[in-house]
Amino acid sequence: MLDIRGRWKGALLPLAAILALSACGSKTGENESVGGAVADTSGDTVKVGLLNSLSGTMAISEVTVRDSIKLAVEEINASGGVLGKKIEPISEDGASDWPTFAEKAEKLIREDKVAAVFGCWTSASRKAVKPVFEENKALLFYPVQYEGLEQSPYIFYTGATTNQQIVPGLEYLKSQGKTSVYLVGSDYVFPRTANKIIKAYVQANGMTVLGEEYAPLGSTEFGTIVNKVKASKASAVFNTLNGDSNVAFFKEYKSAGLTAASMPVVSVSIAEEEVKSIGTQYLDGQLTAWNYYQTTPGAANDKFVKAYKAKYGQDKPTSDPMEAAYVSVYLWKAMVEKAGGFEVDKVKAASDGVTFDAPEGLVTVDGATQHIYKTARIGKVGPDGLITEVWNSGQPVKPDPYLKGYPWAAGLS
């Protein structure tokens, strides 16, 4: 008898396991059919997620973005919070690893039930979390300039799209008579797409592209690439490298005898923080394209720079992505207050026309594209490591992520 019972047990156990598993399966299925997690805003506080790489190759840049989001949150809390609720930030480390970003986004939305998430830097990490936010109908505020050609209904883009950064950068080069360019970038989504746009612009404007080189993300050996750039005798270099690679690239560039006077480099990923870690001796006089510099004049910027330095140290510079991240929290607050609630649909519906007197100047949310109107600024790196503006677009540029307003860009999207 005992023997038989044992045998029965043996047969029953797997059966029970299968039943339990299928029960779990149907449970997650139910969740999905409901349409994602709903933010928990029942208490005195409202939780928001901070999703940045605090380790790995991107940490150099992303830690500063996290810091400025925290600054905005503290300022808002000090002045009474959002709709009477204090903001409770929950920080997660994306570790410069795209699947980790998706995993942590899921955790913030489903377990912590945050009202919105602020963060991501590389386009690869944004592409990785995009389906997570869309499935769960949750909000992401993305604070970094990017390659455009995207418009997720659940992402607000507070950094520049291409027509607010890359196109003005090219227009500036053209106006300076630099008509032959060499393209150097890291090998991932942003540089590849950006270079596609650059090539279309260059072709339509009687300029030439003399070469196009990609280095793997994190690559630090630029001897050959710089040799090729030098041999091409281009009049300027358009640089879309990201992270550590910039350090190696500019060290090599200088020791090969290339200077800002002989062959200027326009960079779209080097802001004040990166200048500091690359070394001003290697960057003196080189150009950058952004929407904000620490030196941008205005009372709003004076207040932002002062508050940031008071909190994180006098030697810490402020930069464009940091400013865009700081602005994103205030824009979210304004949208929520206009909507009168934290529900994602209401916030989205209320977004159009929301303005904020940002450190970079007045910004306005464009509800149709969920991007913002920004002023384009070209800057020059000075010997003190700060970037000073040499040109600006005069007024905020309407965001055009698919470049529909530019005939030469037809066929890109």
Binding site: I60, P216, T220, E221, N227, K228, A248, I278, Q281
Partner: protein
């Protein structure tokens, strides 16, 4: 022609960097058989030594030359500490050594992050190293690359002399060739191990100083180079300095010549394929060490 010469120079200088980062490893891994995954972090320690030193000695030129012996000592002592505390207990268990030293490498990276911050730091290069020597308008040899090449060759010469002509070198070679016989002959093998580890790790520190002239200085800089270092030592043949030297320059030149006509990624792939093919043909590496040990 100019292109080929300038690419050859780039290749040789890539080789010099490979050689510098692999030289210490060819001692600890090559001679002692210890798979030390924390070797990259000793390189990082050498680079941070320059950073800290420049806070005291503000002249970039002097600080670089003081940093060379200082980084050797700092990284060397870290190596000895690691040997005494952990590796010594694991000599018979190579796989455990691999895991333990990998853990140590993660701890050291986090330590650097906590002390110096997650962002990269910058050091100033002396003016005489940021310039270049112009041979023709298109052919320039950058001073920092020439400096690294000289440094790598000097390190090889110094190490060869030390191994071949000093009593310490004789003892190291004796222990490598037959540990038991060396011990029976009155050599304190434990002390020799510690000294070997000191020199090997110290060389990593020197490599770290050189890398500050070329690339980023941050907590992950060691992990960026450690794979290349192991490749050089394995392909060169374990226990042979000569092999590491030849392989380092061969790989550097191959990388730069292929990269010029293709792209970085293609060149990397081809280099890896070449190494795999080479190891199929000679699994022991370029040179093999005949030892008298029974194992």
């Amino acid at each position: 022609m100019t292109v080929i010469v300038s690419q050859l120079f780039t290749g040789v200088s890539i080789g010099a960097v490979l050689l510098l980062i692999a030289l210490g490893l060819s001692l600890t891994f090559g001679q002692m058989g210890v798979i030390n995954m924390a070797h990259g972090e000793f390189i990082m320690a050498g680079a941070y030594t320059v950073y800290v030193l420049q806070k005291v000695i503000t002249d970039a030129g002097w600080s670089l030359f003081v940093a060379l012996p200082l980084a050797f000592a700092v990284a060397g002592l870290m190596g000895v500490l690691l040997e005494v505390l952990l590796i010594r207990r694991l000599y018979a268990r190579p796989l455990d050594t691999l895991l333990v030293t990998w853990g140590v490498s993660l701890i050291l990276q986090q330590l650097a992050r906590d002390i110096f911050g997650a962002p990269n730091v910058q050091t100033r290069a002396p003016d005489f190293l940021t310039g270049n020597i112009k041979i023709t308008d298109d052919l320039v040899l950058s001073n920092n690359r020439l400096f690294i090449l000289t440094l790598a060759l000097a390190a090889v010469v110094a190490l060869t002399v030390a191994l071949r002509y000093t009593s310490l070198g004789r003892r190291i070679r004796a222990v490598v060739q037959n540990r038991d016989l060396a011990a029976v002959s009155g050599i304190a093998t434990g002390r020799v191990d510690r000294l070997t580890f000191f020199i090997g790790s110290g060389l990593a520190g020197v490599a770290g100083v050189a890398l500050t002239l070329l690339g980023p200085i941050g907590p992950t800089m060691g992990t960026n180079v450690i794979v290349d270092a192991f490749l050089v030592v394995v392909a060169g043949g374990i226990g042979h300095l000569k092999g590491s030297v030849i392989v380092a320059f061969a790989l550097g030149t191959l990388q730069s010549l292929v990269e010029y006509s293709t792209t970085v990624s293609v060149a990397k792939v081809l280099v890896f394929v070449a190494i795999v093919a080479f190891l199929q043909w000679r699994p022991q590496g370029l040179f093999t060490l005949r030892t008298r040990s029974l194992a």
